[in-house]
Symmetry: C2
Subunit: 250 residues, 2 copies
């Protein structure tokens, strides 16, 4: 139960993490390290990692989803108080976990390029914050156009990421690319794992890089790596290097 | 009492209005019209205006602030549900009002230029949304630097607005200017009233326009018009046209 004056609700002042549960929490240390780094950026105290893990595990048990493939969401708010935008002198941060079933998508994703831009000039664009409305709007646009997910460009016109995933493509020369964090890409946990497992160029690229790509795929903690079947209606074939990359991440 | 899965909390999916109470709600029709326009942009149903007014008036009475100068905040959330970013088929929007004393600032404002950019490429930048974290970060930067308020540039490097106010300046030729909405400026109610009462140029301008200005002032529904005493440490004298503009708005 959340107070109606909680700054997480009134201002989006807080952070979240979405972890995969598959027989246990996957990559919890990486998620909690990212949360702590986000807290440092926002000026919030990082939650105790052991307590966060306990909250998430209890939430899975209480939801009866221990045997399922599930999404565990950990939410941290800046808590009540303050006058308008100013935070109070003493923070009253709230931490809680929710769980939902998360079957792995069975089909490749179809993408559009969204008209909603990513704010590359805010540190929040690299973080999973409670101020996720631009992503909601981009996804809504994708749904209205009958597809699965939206690619967001930044204000400079460069590719950033999808509404709820990072973006990779194989270019005409066969090289693997992803938007650099400076483009406003979310600092994804799976993105970092791909960068550690394969040779990937972090680039500032126009949308044509995607529409001219040999292959495109998405990454996030819940879907892992998901091939893309079409961008703006242009059909793409799956990348033959994807199964090997998935094995390298397993 | 808000559900922890309310999309207003988890994603910033919702809107708010801040109205001045001074013997009654000030400019309620304009605020509710802006809220309805914001709902249309976000794809949310606009709340019933009579119910919204009743909620706000009841909140003032219950807070014992009927005789005070007070800030009334009306918050609309997209409600519970949906999977991740996707909204549920049936929305469960929540509407509530909170009240706090709001004395008029007695001193002119001191400003800095924030490093947090405004997202001119999102329709949300023109709206008062629950995803207000960039504004929180900009204000926090101002407080750390010992001043009152932060000016936000957009990603093109043009002036947009302050963290919680619109921005006006008198240029060297004596003309009154404000950033255009296309720069990512909030569509302020007081801003619109100033534009109706005076000749104002809506412009895309670099930060030098502000640091070279003859005079600068801020506007919002709570402060009305507030003179600016300094921008980045450079002292400014109050604009001698400000009292006449205030009378024209009264």
């Amino acid at each position: 139960v959340i107070d109606p004056t909680d700054r997480g609700l009134t201002l989006g002042d807080g952070l979240f993490e979405t972890l995969l549960w598959e027989g246990g929490l996957r990559h919890a240390p990486a998620h909690l390290a990212r949360l702590a780094a986000g807290c440092a950026t926002l000026g919030l105290p990082a939650p105790d990692a052991a307590r966060a893990v306990r909250l998430m595990e209890e939430a899975v048990t209480q939801a009866g989803l221990s045997a399922a493939r599930a999404a565990v969401r950990l939410t941290l708010t800046a808590g009540r108080g303050g006058r308008g935008l100013d935070r109070p002198a003493e923070l009253d941060c709230q931490l809680f976990a929710t769980v939902a079933p998360a079957p792995k998508p069975a089909t490749p994703a179809r993408l559009i390029l969204s008209g909603v831009r990513r704010n590359e000039g805010s540190p929040a664009s690299r973080l999973k914050t409670l101020a996720y409305l631009d992503n909601v709007l981009a996804r809504g646009e994708a749904r209205r156009r009958g597809v699965d997910e939206a690619v967001m460009l930044n204000n400079a016109g460069h590719l950033a990421c999808a509404a709820a995933a990072n973006l990779f493509w194989v270019d005409e020369a066969g090289a693997l690319n992803t938007p650099s964090l400076g483009c406003g890409a979310l600092a994804g946990i799976t993105r970092a794992r791909v960068l550690a497992a394969a040779e990937v160029r972090e680039v500032a690229a126009p949308p044509e890089a995607l529409t001219n790509a040999r292959a495109v795929f998405l990454s996030n903690s819940l879907i892992g790596l998901r091939p893309v079947a079409a961008v703006e209606g242009r059909a793409l074939v799956p990348w033959d290097g994807l199964p090997a990359l998935e094995r390298a991440l397993a």
